[in-house]
């Protein structure tokens, strides 16, 4: 063929043509060279071995987003990270990943990262070189320790946040060599839990919970799904606990005791709205009821002092509710109670956690669902540590302070005096990777690399060790350096020659030393660990922990609160999206609707509707909230899931120097809190004061994505009572069924029944759009979502946003109703009662394109921009779209989103590096929506074709949302294959399809009804 073409009759040979082109091309190049500066376009002269253009390379590493240290797989394309997933081999996270984990990608490409070492000169920061910066740090340390004769010697102080064991060891080594002190500070800390474990069991670590093994779970204000020790692992455990076992008709029950329903609380089956701070009384009252009058052990006397009646009085709920719960807790062979977490750190938080430990003890849960193993994969640094150095800093005794991995200028109450004290330090150094409030005060910034660019490790649990390996070269925009390397270099400048030159060598050497050889030679072990992401380590369980007598005096009473008695108790809790504020500069997190309130970007004060009505406050009214420690103004969001005497404010807002996406959004709730440490753990108290809430007369529109929190009697998120599972009657014979049958009798057009989701029902007679000859042989992609498992955590939403290049639009656009997310978690209240112990029923529904077999969007598109593929996917052809928006109007699920502007234009360098090259970045004026991760389907199909044309295996295609879901509630696959998992799941009697019965859309997304313990009222389907 080529020859034929080359010797065509017209006489031009291919070679001649190429020569001509070559010569003219060269001429053009020469001409081009002469006109200006030559750009450095470097081809792959020697291509990197592991990179095939267009093919993703995956690396396993450890998430550095929080102390939990979940395992991560990072997808890199052409040498840059574009998406993260959970590592299924990781013992803790087991493949799931939270929203924040995904958002760490935006920390990597954060446009507000420091571009290089920053040196303050004459009050202005300028960029310097690394050598200059490191020498400056060494010189300042030298100067502080060995001052000029007429000056006093000053100390060197290191303030660190949570870091992996090896990093932490290096810091210790560094400070030892320098001769300074180190304190740690975590904005969100589990110190009371750890302290309680120390007091009760002598274990200096937070306990490990096996939620999945429990059948009755009690949370005393522990928000384990969104914050706490390990949200992903706990969500996974919770899902396996609470998911219904259809064959056995069993399901774990979850009771939430606390003044406010957090996301965790919203997942409860019952809510006992106890008074803030009464956890200890309730736990002890229950424990005493379980243990009976002849309780033994070190806490027998304590138990004597409590009973259900005293608990009920303290909590403000009925005695029966406490007794009944205690009875169930004792009877249940496998139960678990969790003490108050960072969202409820009142002045007796350690005592409350200890009381819950006693409750677990008397119920016999230690060793079955609670484990004291001596490993703390949690941030547990206390406020009292940093409090102790504030005075030293203020007095000018500190010559050099180094801040690393923490932002105390933001995350401490202003009354702590930290900022003022910090400013008294002669030379302030920050290792912050990106700008924050603390580094803004510093004289020298030596920016740390992102954890995707550096080495590290973590101990997710006893006996396991995870290596955090870099997945890519430094983002070239930023001249950063891993702080381990920086410290080693500074040590060199200080004259104490370290044994190793880089942190990588240090890390490797440390693990080589620790390696006991039992699992083969180190080299093999090391490579295996890097590849898998997790290896075994020598440390194991410290053995069964014994309850011991307390060595500290504790008060188990409801703590006193500051402020006037007629005020409302203020709850300041970590945000599921921002943590303590570390994630506030991620636009994904800013725009992710809060899983509870569905509000984006700004802060809100949660107020019970009754309280608000009494005070004449409406939704969106801006109120002034004042405590004895400060005041601020914030809009009100009415929330039935909070006690009438309590208001709540999330952390993470009100940044002033963290970057373009964080600054100016919301308020910093810490401004209302006293700078006070809980005793004896030393944690910062977050539930300490009553506040006066007064309307300011102003109001604003809430940037929410929620339309209505009520289903309006529509078959959207129905539920089924556990007792009715397996019985024919559970099919609520609603009006529709009857009416439809009548219609059918007279030949009317009626929806085709899904026949309980039998694969033979797909595709349905109405589903055949397009003339596809082979439509019946190919796959029909479908999804199943188990609403009984879904916790509403919204990890899928961020995963989808990351995978599919879904842009964020900003607060004003959200206010206009233009959020672009392809997935949303709908949240409907069915029964929420903040006044008494009662059943709780809140429904979460992940809503994405339903890929209808009989799609309303398809026939109305005038140009076939949306059409049905032979594989049953409702496809959207971006470059064919004219933008009439008729499809969106006609979509009953409202899952289509429109590009009102060219939103991606606003994405600054290098944040746009995060775009997934497998997915088109959409243009202005086109419609878009969930594609069932078509790029992943094609990837698997292509792989199958390359591997000898085999069929795509079930489970080979994993959508981004499915992969991320910690609860594993999403299953994707070919529903025409009766053996596929999705077919098996869909065969459940709980399967239904949203609105299908009403409008005959025949969706490919099947939902499994939530299972409740209480009776589902008929109106709720």
């Amino acid at each position: 063929m080529a020859k034929d073409l080359g010797e065509r009759a017209d006489g031009i040979r291919r070679r001649d043509f190429l020569k001509a082109v070559g010569v003219s091309g060269a001429g053009a190049t020469i001409a081009g060279c002469s006109t200006g500066e030559v750009e450095r376009l470097l081809p792959y002269v020697v291509a990197p071995e592991e990179i095939t253009p267009g093919v993703a390379t995956w690396y396993s590493t450890v998430c550095g987003g929080c102390a939990s240290g979940c395992g991560m797989w990072v997808r890199t394309r052409e040498g840059r990270a574009v998406h993260v997933e959970g590592n299924p081999d990781h013992p803790v996270s087991q493949g799931g990943l939270c929203s924040k984990g995904h958002a760490t990608l935006q920390h990597l490409y954060n446009p507000d990262r420091y571009h290089g070492p920053m040196i303050r000169e004459g009050g202005v920061m300028r960029q310097g070189t690394w050598d200059e910066g490191e020498r400056l740090l060494a010189a300042s340390i030298n100067g502080a320790l060995n001052p000029l004769p007429d000056q006093p010697a000053r100390g060197v102080l290191f303030i660190g946040g949570y870091m992996g064991p090896t990093s932490s060891a290096l810091v210790d080594e560094f400070m030892l060599a320098v001769g300074g002190d180190r304190v740690d500070f975590d904005a969100v800390s589990d110190a009371p839990l750890k302290e309680a474990a120390r007091i009760a069991y002598g274990v200096n670590a937070v306990p490990r919970y096996d939620i999945g093994a429990a059948n009755l779970l009690l949370s005393f204000g522990n928000d384990f799904i969104e914050t706490g020790t390990s949200p992903v692992a706990h969500s996974k455990g919770f899902a396996s606990m609470s998911a219904v076992d259809e064959a056995g008709g069993e399901k774990g029950r979850f009771v939430y005791l606390g003044p406010r329903l957090s996301l965790t609380g919203l997942n409860a089956d019952e809510w006992i709205p106890i008074r803030p701070g009464s956890e200890a009384a309730v736990a002890l009252g229950m424990a005493s009821a379980i243990a009976g009058p002849d309780a033994a052990g070190p806490y027998a006397n304590l138990l004597q002092a409590y009973n259900p009646a005293s608990a009920a009085a303290a909590a403000g709920v009925s005695v029966e509710a406490i007794e009944e719960l205690a009875g169930r807790f004792a009877l249940e062979p496998s139960s678990l109670a969790m003490g108050p977490g960072p969202g409820a750190h009142h002045r007796n938080a350690t005592a409350a956690n200890l009381a819950v430990m006693i409750l677990n003890h008397v119920a016999g849960n230690v060793g079955t669902t609670v484990f004291y193993e001596g490993v703390s994969p949690a941030a547990t640094a206390s406020y009292s540590d940093i409090e102790s150095v504030i005075d030293a800093m203020a007095s000018g005794d500190i010559g050099v302070v180094i801040v690393h991995g923490t932002n105390p200028a933001y995350s401490l109450p202003s009354t702590s005096g930290f900022v003022e004290a910090f400013e008294q330090v002669q030379y302030k150094v920050s290792f912050a990777s990106a700008m924050d409030e603390t580094s803004a005060l510093c004289d020298l910034v030596l920016p740390d690399s992102h954890f995707f660019e550096s080495w590290g490790d973590s101990t997710p649990r006893a006996g396991a060790l995870a290596i955090q390996q870099p997945v890519m070269q430094q983002v070239s925009t930023f001249d950063s350096r891993p702080s381990g390397d920086t410290m080693l270099a500074v040590l060199g400048h200080l004259g104490s020659e370290p044994e190793v030159g880089t942190f990588y060598e240090y890390l490797r050497a440390r693990h080589e030393t620790a390696h006991d050889g039992s699992s083969g030679d180190f080299e093999t072990y090391w490579h295996q660990t890097l590849r898998v992401g997790v290896g075994e380590s020598g440390a194991t369980d410290e053995g069964a922990a014994q309850l011991r007598a307390p060595d500290t005096a504790l008060s188990f009473d409801t703590p006193l609160l500051d402020g006037s008695d007629d005020g409302l108790t203020l709850l300041v809790h970590p945000s599921g999206r921002f943590g303590g504020g570390e994630f506030s500069n991620s636009p994904w997190m800013q725009e992710l609707p809060d899983p509870v309130s569905k509000i984006t970007w700004h802060s809100w004060l949660e107020v019970n509707p009754h309280t608000a009505e009494e005070r004449g406050i409406r939704n969106g009214d801006i109120v002034s909230v004042s405590s004895p420690h400060g005041s601020l103004e914030v809009p009100v969001w009415l929330y039935p899931g909070i006690r009438e005497d309590t208001v709540a404010l999330a952390m993470g807002g009100g940044h002033t120097g963290m970057g373009r996406y964080a600054d100016g959004n919301g308020v910093n709730a810490l401004g209302l809190l006293p700078a006070e440490a809980e005793q004896p753990s030393g944690a910062l108290v977050t539930l300490a004061t009553k506040v006066v809430v007064e309307p300011t007369g102003q109001s604003r529109r809430i940037a929410t994505v929620e339309g209505s929190d009520d289903q309006h009697d529509r078959p959207i998120a129905p539920a089924v009572q556990l007792a009715l599972l397996g019985e024919e009657e559970h099919e609520v014979e609603g009006e529709h069924h009857e009416e439809l049958r009548e219609l059918q009798g007279v030949g009317g057009f009626v929806p085709v029944p899904a026949e309980e989701g039998a694969p033979s029902a797909f595709p349905l007679p109405g589903a055949q759009h397009g003339e596809y000859a082979d439509a019946h042989d190919g796959p029909r992609w479908a999804m199943a979502i188990d609403l009984d498992k879904c916790t509403g955590c919204s990890a899928c939403v961020t995963a989808c946003q990351s995978e599919n290049n879904v842009p964020w639009v900003g607060e004003n656009q959200v206010l206009m109703g233009r959020e672009m997310s392809w997935m949303r978690i709908e949240r409907y209240y069915e029964h929420v009662d903040a006044t008494q112990a009662d059943d709780l029923d809140v429904r979460f529904l992940p809503m994405l394109c339903q890929h209808c077999g009989n799609a309303p969007c398809e026939p109305v598109c005038p140009v076939f921009a949306t059409y049905h593929t032979p594989e049953g996917v409702n496809a959207q052809i971006y470059n064919r779209c004219v933008g009439t928006r008729y499809c969106a109007n006609n979509c009953p699920y409202k899952v289509r989103v429109f590009n009102w502007y060219r939103y991606t234009d606003d994405v600054p360098e290098p944040l746009n590096w995060q775009w997934n090259p497998d997915v088109t970045v959409r243009d202005n004026g086109v419609m878009e929506k969930c594609s069932f991760c078509m790029q992943r389907i094609r990837d698997a199909e292509n792989r199958a074709a390359l591997e000898g044309g085999r069929d795509v295996r079930d489970g080979e295609i994993v959508t981004a949302c499915q992969q991320s879901c910690p609860a594993e509630c999403i299953v994707f696959g070919n529903i025409r294959d009766p053996q596929s998992r999705v077919s098996e799941v869909v065969a459940s009697e709980r399967t239904y399809r949203v609105l299908d019965e009403l409008i005959n859309t025949q969706p490919a997304v099947n939902y499994l009804k939530k299972v409740t313990f209480h009776e589902v009222s008929s109106g709720e389907h």
Binding site: G817, V860, P862, F864, N890, F898, W900
Partner: protein, 456 residues
């Protein structure tokens, strides 16, 4: 007109009109003396057209985001205004074609203005789908044209039907309008001078008023009238199917086609009154546009108001009667939801205000009719707003409910569309005889010798 009966001859013109010459003189005078009022109006209209295109171009550059549209309300003021102008376009053809076929003699004085209104209203309406699409530069994909990729529009989509409906309607109504003006242009030509005369010579197509020309003219006119008549019904039916073919509660009803056609005629007649009253005043056409004409138009307005109001009531009734929760909520929400004010504006303006037309005194009072016609115009715009916006903002999925607030851009373009329309209409009153000379003459009493003698 040769085909017109002579029963009511002379009944509708002013008794002071005696001579056929007077008609030529009075009508053609309009083309030569631009009053100050005309220039002021024209200036305002031209400025509005400037605003219109400025805002539109800005939207093209920045994106549809400059509107207030969102999810779930993907259509708003643009589509509302589109339907409004298509509706306005209807009564022109109705008056000229249908009433012509039905031999309604009162149409002669107003049909020319009504036809012009039709053409300009379609010209205005036709811009709105273009304004509203996300990628204007690809809007031509809605037109079926042969291409190498064998990509055709989706003939199932009502939007494609719309393309055909609007273009057909524009073509036919423009042709019909032009054809009817030819004899009058010739009359104008005979009096005009200079450039204007050249222009009229060209577009009068050599009209001499010979018997054979009149004969052919009559045939063609009847033929086009017959062709245009079904379009009156079909175009707005198709526009209504833009909504009715969807599954949106509040849109998906079978009543939409007749309901929209009646509404279109209703709004069209109201707009004719709104335009003709000032025209009559400014150009002193009291002799030609008598209260009898207005009475007839008012009766038609009353009739269509009743039909439209009946449609409203039946929609509410059927929503309740369906027993369907989604449907019931949609209509309950219309009356008492966020946009209650729009719905009540619609009900008051279109249902209650026209009740006054039952009274003869009101029908014969031109100021009263003018005010009522303004109410109807407003009410009919809000009717479309209610249909488009309130239906969309509360659909099936309660969590996805939303609120739409029109933006400044949309209001400017809405305002600009009136200016664009007025711009053309004002030009029309100066360039073409706005009252049909030849048809007026037909209904005038034939000149009598005696009268002629008296005149001398």
């Amino acid at each position: 007109m040769a085909t017109l009966g002579t029963r009511e001859r002379g009944a509708l013109t002013h008794p002071d009109l005696h001579r056929l010459d007077d008609v030529n003189r009075d009508v053609l005078k309009m083309l030569t003396t631009p009053g100050k009022g005309w220039w002021i109006l024209f200036g305002i209209a031209a400025a509005g057209v400037g605003l219109f295109f400025t805002m539109w171009i800005r939207q093209m550059v920045l994106g549809i985001g400059v509107s207030g549209l969102n999810a779930p309300v993907g259509w708003g003021v643009y589509i509302t205004t589109f339907v409004f102008w298509v509706g306005i376009a209807h009564s022109g053809t109705l008056i000229s074609a249908i009433l012509f076929l039905f031999r309604a003699p009162w149409r002669q004085s107003i049909y020319r203005a009504a036809e012009a209104m039709t053409v300009f209203a379609v010209m205005t309406a036709g811009l709105f789908p273009l304004i509203h699409v996300g990628r204007l530069w690809h809007a031509y994909w809605l037109i079926p044209y042969p291409n190498s990729r064998f990509l055709w529009p989706n003939f199932k989509s009502p939007l494609v039907w719309d393309v055909f409906a609007i273009t057909t309607y524009f073509t036919v109504s423009a042709t019909f309008f032009y054809l009817g003006t030819i004899p009058d242009i010739a009359a104008a030509r005979d009096r005009a001078t200079g450039l204007r005369k050249k222009l009229y010579q060209l577009i009068s197509l050599g009209w001499q008023g010979s018997d054979s020309q009149w004969h052919h003219f009559g045939k063609a006119y009847i033929f086009l009238a017959a062709l245009a008549t079904p379009l009156v019904l079909s175009v707005h039916s198709v526009v209504s199917w833009d909504f009715a073919m969807s599954i949106v509660p509040g849109w998906h009803t079978t009543i939409f086609a007749p309901y929209f056609v009646a509404g279109a005629i209703f709004s069209g007649i109201a707009m004719v009154i709104t335009l003709v009253v000032p025209m009559r005043k400014i150009f002193g056409l009291e002799a030609y546009l008598t209260t009898k004409h207005f009475d007839a138009m008012a009766k038609l307005m009353l009739l269509t108001s009743l039909i439209v109001f009946y449609a409203y009531l039946s929609e509410f009734f059927l929503a309740w009667y369906s027993g369907e929760e989604v449907e019931r909520t949609a209509f309950w929400n219309r009356l008492f939801g966020t946009y209650w004010w729009a719905t009540w504006t619609m009900l008051v303006c279109n249902g209650f205000v026209p009740i006054m037309l039952w009274f003869k005194r009101v029908r014969y009072s031109i100021p009263a009719l003018f005010v009522i016609s303004i109410f109807v115009n407003i009410g009919m715009w809000f009717e479309r707003y209610v249909i488009v916006v309130t239906s969309l903002h509360h659909e099936y999925e309660p969590f996805a409910w939303g609120i739409y607030r029109p933006s400044v851009t949309e209001m400017c373009i809405l305002l600009g569309s009136f200016c664009w329309f007025s711009f053309w209409f004002l030009l029309f009153t100066r360039l073409l005889p706005p009252v049909a000379i030849q048809e007026l003459k037909e209904v005038m009493p034939p000149p009598m010798r005696k009268q002629a003698g008296e005149a001398h």
